[in-house]
Structures are given as structure tokens and as C-alpha cells.
């Protein structure tokens, strides 16, 4: 997902046209990643409220998705399939029946779990009307992805700024308006099923052709490229300035968690301790993606934000390394 973002940014900077077949393969991988990410989230969210049966079942269903990814790319995660100008591996026609069979099985099992989850009244009692982010706050705090869509904000990079094959394959924006954790759950569940359909459509519509573009020996330095990708957690942006020797001069990636974390204080305001973990969990946080450390002096209310250089210096001081 990030590799797609980076490659697209470089391709934009260098004006490289990616072959259609490669764009379809990218779409398939992105959607498979969305399926396994949402199933992983469902399991963790269920675990947070003590529902370990859903955790185990969701992760059991997730396993064949990882298997599919391994079949296509050679890796269960961190697929390493993208290169600037296309993809490294093709999905040959002979593989299709096997993929479709696994997809069918995943869809059936996912539907079964989702039906069980949707009709569970105890689960509804824990998730409905809890962790509410009103629509206007979701817009004001620029919440992203399923967190925003659960509050009735219809944003989805796949539809708003199509990339890969999303301009050609039907893509639906799943919006719920109940603004609570339940809405975020339903959004993710609907997206999971929609992703399975998108993968199927892509396999069907995939055109023949090369999977990598012919690239000039060097991409000239000083070019600027920006691309946005709808990650399972929300939109991800990559900004690249090309440099000498086919290396990036500057590269900035923005993951959605830092943005979504801003919504958590609104969610937990006035709620009990029991609701805090699941409210935080409902944005599907990735703390390593937030790359920001700040300390608040409770007495004076002073806020200090540490930069990377600060952290580096403190680390050196503490451990006495040069």
C-alpha cells in the first residue's frame, strides 16, 4: 500500500505511464490487503471487548487471504510486488480458478461471521451509541477512512481521486450515519465484502499486456511527485522530490493514524473506562505511524513537541554513543 503510494509518486514525477495490466494487479493486491486488514481489525476490536470467539474466527478466515497474497507475490505481508513503472509479478490465467475458489470460500465465511456479529445484541450494546464523533467534528478534525465514513463523511480516495484501476472498476464508498463505533464496524464489514467483489471484477476485467513500463535509464532529479492511496485505515499521501542517481532527494509519507487520533478525545469524552480501549481501537490505530512525541506539563499546561533530531540527541546522551 505504501509501496504503491511511493511508486505512484515517482511515476508522476517522472511522467511514467504504468501499463493497464500492472494497474489491475496493483488494485488486486491493494484490495486483498484491505480484506485482511479489516478482518484483523475486527478480531482485535472483538478482543478488546472480550469477544475472543470473533477474534479467533476472524483471524482463521484471514489466513487464506494471506495465503492468496503469498501465492501471488511470494510473501504473506509486505508483498514487495511494486516497482516504479509497474509490478514485479504477473497473475497468470492458470492461477485464476484457484484464486476464485479461495475468494468464494472467504466470502462465504466472512458473510457467516458478519451475520453472527450483526445479530449479536450484547455486541450491539457495547458498540452502539458509544464513541460518537458527530459529523461536523469528523470534518473539522479531518478524520479519515472508515472513521470518517462512519460519521457520514463520504470520502474515499479510490473514488475521489482514482488511481490504479479504480477509475475502471466499480468502487463504492461505504457510508454510515450513526457516528458511533458500531458505524465504523459496519463500514469496515461492508468494505470487506465489497473488496472481495472488486478483486473478482479485476480478475475478470484484467487486460492482457506487459506488467512493467519501459523506463528511461535515469529519472531526472528535481522533479516533484505526489500521490494518494486509500489505505485500509484512511488516506495515505506520499510526496517525493527526485534526486541524483535515481534516488529520492526528499520523501514524505503521511499515514492516517495521526489524523484519526485527533478524534479519540471526542469519542471518550464523558465515557467510562470500559469504553476507552474500544473507542481508541475503533480508529484502527497504528502508533508507529504517528512519528510524533509531545510532552504536556500538567501544572503549567506547557506542550513540548520533540522532533526527530531531538530524539536522536536524547538517545545519544542517554546511551553515550557517538
Amino acid at each position: 500500500m505504501h509501496s504503491t503510494g511511493y511508486c505512484q509518486a515517482v511515476e508522476k514525477a517522472g511522467g511514467i505511464e504504468v501499463p493497464r495490466r500492472a494497474r489491475y494487479i496493483r488494485t488486486i493486491i491493494l484490495e486483498l490487503e484491505r480484506i485482511q486488514s479489516h478482518l484483523l481489525w475486527l478480531g482485535i476490536a472483538a478482543h478488546i471487548i472480550g469477544f475472543d470467539t470473533v477474534l479467533m474466527q476472524a483471524w482463521r478466515i484471514r489466513e487464506p487471504v494471506m495465503w492468496l497474497c503469498e501465492k501471488i507475490t511470494g510473501n504473506r505481508k509486505l508483498y514487495g510486488i511494486n516497482v516504479v513503472g509497474g509490478v514485479r509479478r504477473d497473475i497468470p490465467k492458470e492461477m485464476h480458478p484457484q484464486l476464485l475458489e479461495v475468494l468464494g470460500r472467504i466470502e462465504k465465511e466472512t458473510r457467516a461471521v458478519l451475520d453472527a456479529v450483526v445479530t449479536d445484541t450484547t455486541l450491539l450494546a457495547r458498540l452502539a451509541n458509544v464513541g460518537i464523533v458527530p459529523n461536523k467534528d469528523a470534518i473539522a478534525y479531518s478524520l479519515l477512512g472508515p472513521t470518517a465514513r462512519g460519521s457520514g463523511v463520504a470520502i474515499d480516495i479510490r473514488v475521489d481521486h482514482p488511481y490504479a484501476a479504480y477509475g475502471e472498476v466499480e468502487t463504492n464508498v461505504m457510508v454510515e450515519t450513526s457516528e458511533d463505533i458500531w458505524a465504523r464496524t459496519v463500514v469496515r464489514m461492508k468494505e470487506t465484502l465489497d473488496s472481495i467483489r472488486i478483486v473478482r471484477d479485476c480478475l475478470e476485467m484484467m487486460p492482457e499486456g506487459p506488467i512493467q513500463a519501459k523506463i528511461a535509464e535515469r529519472i531526472p532529479p528535481g522533479l516533484i511527485g505526489q500521490s494518494s492511496v486509500e489505505a485500509p485505515r484512511g488516506e495515505t499521501h506520499h510526496y517525493v522530490i527526485t534526486g541524483e542517481d535515481n534516488r529520492p532527494y526528499r520523501w514524505k509519507a503521511r499515514a492516517p493514524t495521526f489524523q484519526n487520533l485527533q478524534g479519540v478525545p471526542i469519542m471518550v469524552l464523558g465515557e467510562t473506562i470500559a469504553d476507552v480501549p474500544i473507542a481508541l481501537g475503533s480508529i484502527d490505530p497504528c502508533f508507529s505511524c504517528t512519528e510524533r512525541l509531545e510532552t504536556v506539563d500538567v501544572r503549567s499546561g506547557q506542550v513540548k513537541v520533540y522532533t526527530k533530531a531531538d530524539l536522536f540527541r536524547m538517545c545519544k546522551e542517554k546511551w553515550g554513543r557517538k
Partner: protein, 305 residues
């Protein structure tokens, strides 16, 4: 039929040993069942024995110098084992005396108080939150237990478990007993800290609450107390509220009771596996209604049905 002093002591020792040795096995069975629902292989059935052995062999670490923090586990386990002497598991309980029902309810409260004390004295904020939750749970769950036992006492006209069983065996099932039996089952799920009432510990929210600082032998004793409580409550429910079939042969009856206990704990395990954790306010609401249901059962008993 009253036991002589020698018989009482002998039977007491046997019952305590049976409870201590058998209860981890039942816990192992429940874990296996939950693993089955999870599509997991699960730990071996004897895993709880290994857990207890391992914890007993660990060093003693205390986060607090409080007397109650150090000895709450011992007192809790002692209370559970004493309570086990009052419950008719295999025929008449070893320690039968008038008013034993009241003593039983108090002994079970002692366990709750010790859990509370362990939380309060642990010096951890999680422990405090857990202790607060424990109090709220006890205040709503124990009335259900008490009302259920009072109903049985009203029906049988005796405050002794032995007489209740005898009354149940000599009479057809009564509506009031069925109602309080069901409410008692739900109270037991909460008493055993099983989902959806696993609120006091709630490891994802408050990291085991009152037990957050408990470790080593102390934790082993708390765990053992919980396992024993499982067996005691299950055998209380099956022997007082579902005493049939009763053949009159000690060994056969004991086996039948054990089978019924396992069936009941399987039910508890299934309830545990198919529910997420409730919030404490939702649980209070639930048990508030349940108290009314149990009271309705008691009212039925008072008018004679």
C-alpha cells in the same frame, strides 16, 4: 442422620481434597471447550494443574506491605474450601447444621471482600478500579444468590441444603424453583467471573483489576480458589435445584452429580464463548432485573407454587 465427630472430620478432609484436586480438571475441560468454539486446539486438559504448580514455585513479589494484600489469597481460598464443606456434593454435606445456608452466603461474600481488599491494597490504580467494580458486582449479584437460596428454604421449610435436596426429591418440580434456578445460573456465571460478566478482571481494560499486582503463590491460591468456586457453585445448583435422578448409592450418585456439574460448566463455557464483555452499568441493569425475577420466584414460593 447426623455424622459422628470422626465421620465429620473424615468426610470434610475427603471433600476438601476432592474439591482441590478435581476443580483444575474442570477448568481444563472448560478451556478445551472454549478452544473448540474458537477453532483452536487449546491447551492440554491438565494445563491448570501445571499453571498452579508453576505459580506455587515462583518467588513472592509484593507491591505493598499491607497484611491484607499478602494474605487475601489465603483467606479467600480458605473461605471457598470452608464453603465447600456446606455444599451437598456427594450425598449429605460433611458440615450440616441449622442455618448453614446463611453461613454459605457469608463465606462467598468473604471471597468477594478479599478480592476487593487485594485490589484496594495493591497500590495500583487498575486495582482500585477493579475493586470498585467488584463491589458493584457483589451488591447486584449476591442478592440473586441469596433470594434463590431463601426460596429453596421457604419451599423446603429448612435452612439446610440436605433438607432442600430431600424436599426436592420427594416433590415434583415447582415453578418457583425453576425460576430461581435459572436466575441462579446467571448469577453463577457472574460469580465465576465468566463472560459476559468478566467485568472485575477485564484484562484488556484494567489488566486483571484486583489481581494486577498478584503473582506467584498468591496468584496460584486465587486461581485455585476460582477453580474450586466453579465446582462448588455448579454442584450447589445441580444438587439443590436439579437433584434428579437420585439412586441412593453413594458412588453412583457422586458420578451422576459429577456428570451434571460438567454439563452445567459446559453451559457456562458456551455462554462465556459467545458473549463479549458487558459494561458495569449494563451488568448492574441486568442484575437489577434479575433480582426482580428472582423475587418473583420467591413470591411464587410464598403463595405455594
Amino acid at each position: 442422620m447426623d455424622y459422628s465427630l470422626g465421620q465429620t472430620i473424615g468426610l470434610s478432609v475427603v471433600q476438601v481434597v476432592v474439591v482441590l484436586l478435581l476443580s483444575p480438571l474442570l477448568e481444563g475441560l472448560i478451556r478445551k471447550l472454549i478452544a473448540f468454539v474458537h477453532s483452536r486446539i487449546g491447551p492440554p486438559v491438565y494445563q491448570p494443574y501445571l499453571d498452579i504448580l508453576k505459580l506455587l514455585g515462583k518467588e513472592e513479589i509484593a507491591s505493598s506491605r499491607s497484611f491484607l494484600f499478602r494474605y487475601s489469597a489465603v483467606i479467600a481460598l480458605t473461605a471457598v474450601l470452608t464453603a465447600s464443606l456446606l455444599v451437598p456434593m456427594f450425598g449429605k454435606p460433611p458440615l450440616g447444621f441449622a442455618g448453614e445456608v446463611i453461613v454459605f452466603v457469608y463465606l462467598i461474600s468473604v471471597v468477594a471482600v478479599m478480592i476487593y481488599m487485594s485490589g484496594v491494597t495493591s497500590g495500583s490504580p487498575y486495582g482500585l478500579v477493579g475493586a470498585g467494580r467488584e463491589v458493584m458486582m457483589v451488591l447486584t449479584v449476591e442478592p440473586v444468590l441469596a433470594i434463590a437460596l431463601i426460596t429453596a428454604a421457604v419451599k423446603s421449610g429448612s435452612m439446610m441444603f440436605g433438607d432442600m435436596v430431600a424436599w426436592q426429591l420427594s416433590h415434583p418440580p415447582a415453578l418457583s424453583m425453576v425460576i430461581v434456578g435459572v436466575t441462579l445460573f446467571l448469577a453463577i456465571v457472574a460469580q465465576l467471573a465468566r463472560l459476559p460478566f468478566d467485568i472485575v478482571e477485564a484484562d484488556q481494560e484494567i489488566m486483571e483489576g484486583p489481581f494486577v499486582e498478584q503473582s506467584g503463590p498468591k496468584l496460584a491460591l486465587f486461581k485455585w480458589g476460582f477453580y474450586a468456586k466453579q465446582l462448588i457453585f455448579a454442584s450447589l445448583l445441580v444438587s439443590v435445584f436439579i437433584p434428579w435422578p437420585h439412586v441412593g448409592k453413594l458412588v453412583l450418585d457422586a458420578l451422576i452429580t459429577l456428570a451434571k456439574v460438567i454439563v452445567l460448566l459446559v453451559l457456562v463455557g458456551v455462554v462465556h464463548a459467545v458473549n463479549p464483555r458487558l459494561r458495569i452499568d449494563q451488568s448492574i441493569q441486568f442484575f437489577g432485573l434479575l433480582i426482580f425475577a428472582a423475587a418473583a420466584g420467591l413470591a411464587f414460593a410464598l403463595v405455594g407454587s
